[in-house]
Amino acid sequence: MKKILALLLAGLMVFALAACGTPAEPAETEETETTEATEATETAASGDTIVIGVYEPLSGDNGAGGKQETLGMQYANSITPTVDINGTTYNVKLEVADNESSNDKAVSAASTLIAKGPSVILGSYGSGVSIAASDTFGAAGIPAIGVTCTNPQVTDGNSHYFRICFLDPFQGTVLANFAKDELGASTVYCLGQLGNDYDQGLINYFKQAAEGLGMTVITDSFPEGNSDFNSYLSNAKNQGAEVIFAPTSISYAQMIVDQAAAQGITMPLLAGDTWDSNVVLAATQGKDVTVYVTTFYAEGGDVDFENGFKDWINGDSTNLANNGGDDMIAAVSVMGYDAYYVALEALKAAGSADPADVLAALPGVTYTGVSGEIAFNDIGDAIRDTAFVKQANTSDNVWDFVKVQSVAE
């Protein structure tokens, strides 16, 4: 017995040592010592590679959206793999860390990313994980650019967190206006996931705006991992709702759409930017449901970009699989694409790859991207005043453009 024990211990030690050696290597060989290079000294970027960290959910409830957002960045990186800083050309390398859509995994994922020595971090899809990792990025002094995290708490009070998308107070107001003006609703049933900052935040701002417009709002929440939405949908029906507002993750969206169709619920389903996904669209096909979403980008906005992106997606089976199996362009991919270029602008403006310089340069960065003009206000949020409303076409598998809506209306 003792022998076995000793063997096991020895085995574990060897295993530990062997394993310890391997992971360190790719980081150092491939990035040509960027880890040392980005030490907060003037020797920054002495190598020829700059690392941009990608902090996204690649698995879990938000995995589908996170993968699409990452694709946008990877596409941008494939087009513009280098950046000129003060006359020197550097290669840009994307390092991806998976936060598993889970707030408790956020710190570990953020730490692995910081260990790769990034100059700036992009992400994440989903507000909760961004808030959860914010302090870790802040403590390491690395600036982060939120791509599609819409909750105000991401940037509020965090001088190192910036964001290129619109915010929930805006999106909630847009949706409330839409529900009242276009759908003629007087009672709205809101359904979100417990403990999800995106869901709860957007519902909260929607509720404020909708009640201001004189609508009745009923809110309800479901626990994580729930798959039975029949009772919630019955609740909506019984409480006289005319519209269901369900800004949930994509994985729940599928089930809500499917079960609403099965229960014969014909009232419109309204949701925010998360539902703008080909996965949700696929779930609506051939079903008697009405789905509206607000989003960052409507197809047809930039044809050159779209064609290039589609070719790139179709050219690689992994990319195609990550995009949900077809070449439809998700708004989050567009945002990921723009975020990458904002990061490059920031690097150029900083004149170095040092995170501290990038952080100092970021507030002044402006960029006109595929999704529109991007400039930061003093909190670090993008100044945006338009959102696109789209409706799912249940027979042709496309999103039909409905209108551009801004708060002023």
């Binding site: 690649l58 698995s59 879990g60 409830d61 995995g63 589908a64 993968k67 998976d98 598993e100 417990l194 309800d220 929440s221 479901f222 626990p223 991992g225 798959s227 039975d228 029949n230 009772s231 919630y232 949908l233 019955s234 609740n235 029906k237 019984n238 994509i250 994985s251 599928q254 089930m255 499917d258 079960q259 169709a261 099965a262 229960q263 014969g264 996965v279 696929a282 779930a283």
Partner: protein
């Protein structure tokens, strides 16, 4: 009155339907516990794997062949788990076997995570079950009606099997007294394998019904239904098949009533409150026989 019915029928239908699906899982728990005194924590995950097999099988095979494949593969998986993870520990303390079950559950979830890439998989439509039908004032999927009927048919068949066949007699003997029945010439290993075959067969059928209803499979899909089914088994009196079924229906219906009342946060917790109450008030469950070592 009719307004009240049309408002509340959907909850009842959802409750009966999900109750029937819990029942099919709960039978696996109760039979394994009856014989091995083991809470098979991996059972819920076997149920989830059955769902994933269906997703992958239908990608290349016709739907009805896939259904057969799912049932066969799930049964095989169950037997393999028993042979690999539980059999070597038969003489070990009960805690070790339970830890092994937790380990298997962890392994199955992680394998599922690896193969699915962590993304929810859309469950295929089984044409007959997915059809939308009208039940009085409520609209629902065919599966809602099929589930309770199928569950009851299977349970009656199972009860008959346990009561009237030789295998069933052997099962009863083993669950009454492990060692004595071995001395009486019953091949314990065969009986245990048979238990896993039946349990996994029912879990596979349950997964077909459950995922047709909720059309999405994630690696943790099996965890909560598994726990609830176990609670159902305890509630009905562990070891008793009819008890597990009744317990499952009660849990399924109560859960949906709670959601209907607006206490959605507590819909999962309720199950566990029920568990603790039953353990304290009547630890043998409603149909359980006199316990010797539970309290």
């Amino acid at each position: 009155m009719s307004a009240w019915i049309s408002a509340n029928l959907p909850y009842l239908l959802a409750g009966i339907s999900v109750g029937g699906q819990y029942a099919l899982i709960a039978i696996g728990y109760t039979m394994v516990y009856g014989i091995l005194r083991l809470i098979n924590f991996a059972h819920g995950d076997v149920f989830m794997v059955a769902g994933l097999i269906m997703v992958y099988a239908t990608a290349s095979l016709p739907i009805y062949i896939s259904v057969i494949l799912v049932v066969v593969a799930t049964v095989l998986l169950g037997v393999v788990i028993e042979k690999v993870a539980y059999k070597p520990l038969r003489s070990a303390p009960r805690m070790s076997v339970m830890i092994s079950a937790i380990g298997v559950s962890y392994l199955l979830q992680n394998c599922a995570l690896y193969f699915t890439g962590g993304l929810p998989q859309v469950y295929p439509n089984i044409p007959f079950l997915s059809k939308v039908v009208q039940v009085g004032p409520a609209t629902t999927k065919m599966v809602t009606i099929v589930t309770p009927i199928l569950t009851l048919v299977l349970v009656f068949a199972l009860v008959a099997l346990i009561k009237y066949t030789k295998v069933g007699m052997a099962m009863r003997a083993v669950s009454r007294d492990f060692e004595t029945s071995e001395l009486m010439g019953i091949k314990i290993n065969n009986v245990i394998s048979m238990t896993f075959v039946i349990g996994c067969f029912l879990a596979a059928v349950g997964s077909l019904l459950y995922f047709t209803n909720y059309n999405s499979v994630i690696p943790t899909s099996g965890a909560m239904p598994g726990l609830k089914a176990f609670v159902a088994a305890v509630f009905g009196g562990i070891g008793s098949v009819p008890g597990a079924v009744i317990g499952a229906f009660i849990i399924g219906i109560c859960e949906n009533i709670i959601k209907g009342l607006g206490w959605t946060v507590f819909s999962d917790a309720f199950t566990f409150v029920l568990l603790i109450v039953i353990l304290l008030v009547k630890p043998t469950g409603i149909f359980g026989e006199k316990a010797t070592d539970k309290v």
